[in-house]
Amino acid sequence: MKVTIDGIAIDVEPGTTILNAARQIGGDIVPPAMCYYSKLKDSGGKCRTCLVKVSKGSEKDPRPMPKLVASCRTTVMDGMEVQNITSPEVIEARKGIVEILLLNHPLDCPICDQAGECDLQNLGFEHGAAKTRYEFDRRTFEKIDIGDKIQLHMTRCILCYRCVFTADQITDHRIHGILNRGDHSEISTYITAAVDNDFSGNVIDVCPVGALTDKTFRFKNRVWFTKPVDAHRDCDHEKCNGKVTLWYKGEEVLRVTARKDVYGEVEEFICNTCRFDKKKTSDWVIDGPRHISNKSVINANHYDFVPLPVVKTNPVLIEANKEQFERDTRL
């Protein structure tokens, strides 16, 4: 099926969503997604950041769709034309959504463990306004421990439901869910029951914000001071094949996560033993450094290439900076 997104045409399988078609093209035209998670069935459609405009429904029925649609849940039709960043309407709506998502978000990034790898932070940076127009108190919740390794800080939650789907689909039973309604909704366990499951740690990885954090890593370090290294071990859990990313500070493994792709989605879910209990280099076989996009703050000061000195045209200045220039280009 042929679909055109922001003027770029691509052929995709029937049943592909607009978002996944855009991801196949890649680049700037990929709509941001806060709740959609490609590894989780039925996720998406809730945060509304991936709204796009369908300017032509299909070859058969060329009428445009009356409203903006959630690209993560809308499947492509043959001949569909989609506008994402070329439509001012979409940009405006997305800006509104970002503002709305940040209304009740505490903006405590300086003390949040997710900072640096937070989807909401990136989204706010790219699409949000510098100031909010919201002048009221934000809703707050007490921090609660769900299980002995995971802490839930509901104040930061944007209710993407990813952790609910994870518990439903990855673990064998779910004991946490959404309580209450509207902006009082909260993720919680039923009467402080503990989440105890071999795969429960994955809710930390799928959380787009810092609402679910790893208690073995909390306040240990900022992610951009740590060095990600791919590693694997022979995990005896039947559903886990032990492929992880180790986050080093010096010689010490500070935390273990699943390997995440460019959209921040894990490649394979890992078990709790790998995540929480194996924190020695001797437990692992190192595969090599983890490649992180050079746009990410995790790569701060680790540029893929060194920018050339600004002076390029004035021969006198080039001569004066020759030594510096040579040193920089040699790297």
Partner: protein, 454 residues
């Protein structure tokens, strides 16, 4: 006096019992439909009648029925949406309380037309008396052979169940209703797939309002052509309007669609004018979700034509100067009512009832409520009005279900038409707490066509 189709026998004593209802010609449509018509003929008849959904959106009922997927070997369901919880609307409750057999009769005919063997009436949890009334009525009908196995020896089986809801407004949205009916949290589903393809338990399902289903009875009894003669244009038949607010005679009225609003509001037969000799300031024509209109724009359209109670005429002028028929929850405001307070009250309702699934509605309704609360209590700012309009635009159309639109429209329209009053609340903050703005110019005759109304 116009002929009543639904409420014809409403004043007959004991009409809520099977025997009295039957003696007044009740269940004739079941006999006619099951014995002389095929399901397709019934659907065709309903299509021809031009009946439009009475729950608010006004989607043609016959069309909805014909969209129902009919795969082999898969059950189909008819669900009656009796989760009436729109502020201002109380017509379905009235119908179920006083003439429950009309709904059951309609359910039998509609279920037969759609091929449903099991049908549900999803009633809002607060309506416990109505649930008991319906259950008693179902038991009576079953005892007389109108429900259960082999109805009237035609070989058609139908089980009808009443399901109480938990009392959430959002469960009146059809997909949230189905989720709730399945025993899950009442969050609206993301469409597509539509319920006509995959609804209750993943099976093709039709969800109809109580009044739409009840209206099938006169359509079958009298024929689609007779029914379509009533009304005007594409608004055919009769409609129950629940009039409330500052009218002299509040209550449920059955009107022919196309009745001039002036007649409905002021004639003794219907509302009887505004109570206590006051003057009309504003009207919400179809339940809290539809745009509010000032008296002058409500009685006359922008082109100075009299407005009629019909889907088209009330919507004349679009969102700039029109409103919607909605679910027929007619609320009139007299000169002593404060529009800011009313808007705040509506928004408070939507804030409370938002399911919290998608972000614009979850966060946006709360934001609007807080800003309006501030305005109402005299602490507002001049920039608040633009802020509210902007927030309502960010919500409208960007949500999973229509609750976001329903929350945004009353705010946007109140500011569009009553901006003076909002501004007065800012400039005279202290005074606004103790007295209301009054009628001002909201009932003045409309200016000539050339000048746009601010």
């Amino acid at each position: 006096m116009a002929r009543k189709l639904l409420l014809e026998h409403i004043n007959v004593p004991g009409i809520n019992t099977f025997d009295v209802y039957r003696s007044k010609g009740g269940y004739a449509s079941v006999e006619k439909a099951l014995k002389t018509m095929t399901p397709d003929e019934i659907v065709e008849e309903v299509k021809k009648s031009g009946l439009r959904g009475r729950g608010g959106a006004g989607f043609p009922t016959g069309m909805k029925w014909s969209f129902l997927a009919k795969p082999e070997g898969v059950a189909r369901y008819l669900v009656c949406n009796a989760d009436e919880s729109e502020p201002g609307t109380f017509k379905d409750r009235y119908l179920m309380t006083y003439i429950p057999h009309l709904l059951i009769e309609g359910m039998i005919v509609a279920s037969f037309a759609l091929g449903a063997k099991t049908s549900y009436i999803y009633v809002r949890g607060e309506m416990m008396p109505q649930i008991r009334i319906l259950e008693r009525a179902i038991a009576e009908a079953k005892a007389k052979g109108f429900l259960g196995k082999n109805i009237l020896s035609t070989g058609y089986d139908l089980e009808l169940y009443v399901q109480p809801g938990g009392g959430a407004y959002i469960c009146g949205e059809e997909t949230a209703l189905l989720e709730s009916l399945e025993g899950k949290r009442g969050n609206p589903r993301i469409k597509p797939p539509f319920p006509a393809i995959a609804g209750l338990y993943g099976c093709p399902t039709v969800v109809n309002n109580v009044e739409s289903i009840a209206a099938v009875v006169p359509i079958i009894n009298e024929g689609a052509d007779e029914y379509a003669k009533i009304g005007i244009g594409r608004s055919t038949g009769t409609k129950l309007i629940s009039a409330g607010g500052n009218v002299k005679n509040p209550g449920v009225y059955e009107i022919d669609l196309g009745l001039p609003v002036e007649e409905f509001l002021y004639s003794e037969e219907y509302c009887g004018g505004i109570a206590n000799g006051k003057r009309l300031k504003a009207v919400v024509a179809g339940g809290s979700s539809v745009p509010i209109l000032p008296a002058n724009l409500f009685l006359k359209t922008i082109n100075n034509e009299p407005r009629l109670m019909s889907y088209e005429s009330l919507a004349d002028g679009g969102f700039v100067s029109g409103t919607m028929l909605g679910s027929g929850g007619f609320i009139a405001y007299d000169e002593d009512q404060c529009i800011v307070r009313n808007t705040w009250n509506f928004t408070r309702f939507y804030h409370h009832e938002s399911c919290g699934q998608c972000s614009p509605c979850r966060e946006g309704t709360g934001w609007m409520e807080k800003v309006l609360h501030r305005l109402e209590h005299g602490h507002g700012k001049m920039s608040d009005m633009d802020l509210l309009v902007d927030v309502s635009k960010k919500i409208e159309g960007n949500t999973i279900c229509p609750l976001g639109d329903a929350a945004a429209w009353p705010v946007a329209s109140a500011i569009r038409h009553f901006r003076d009053e909002f501004e007065w609340h800012v400039t005279n903050g202290a005074e606004a707490v103790t007295r209301n703005f009054g009628l001002a110019h909201y009932a003045d005759p409309l200016p000539k066509k050339e000048e746009p109304v601010a």
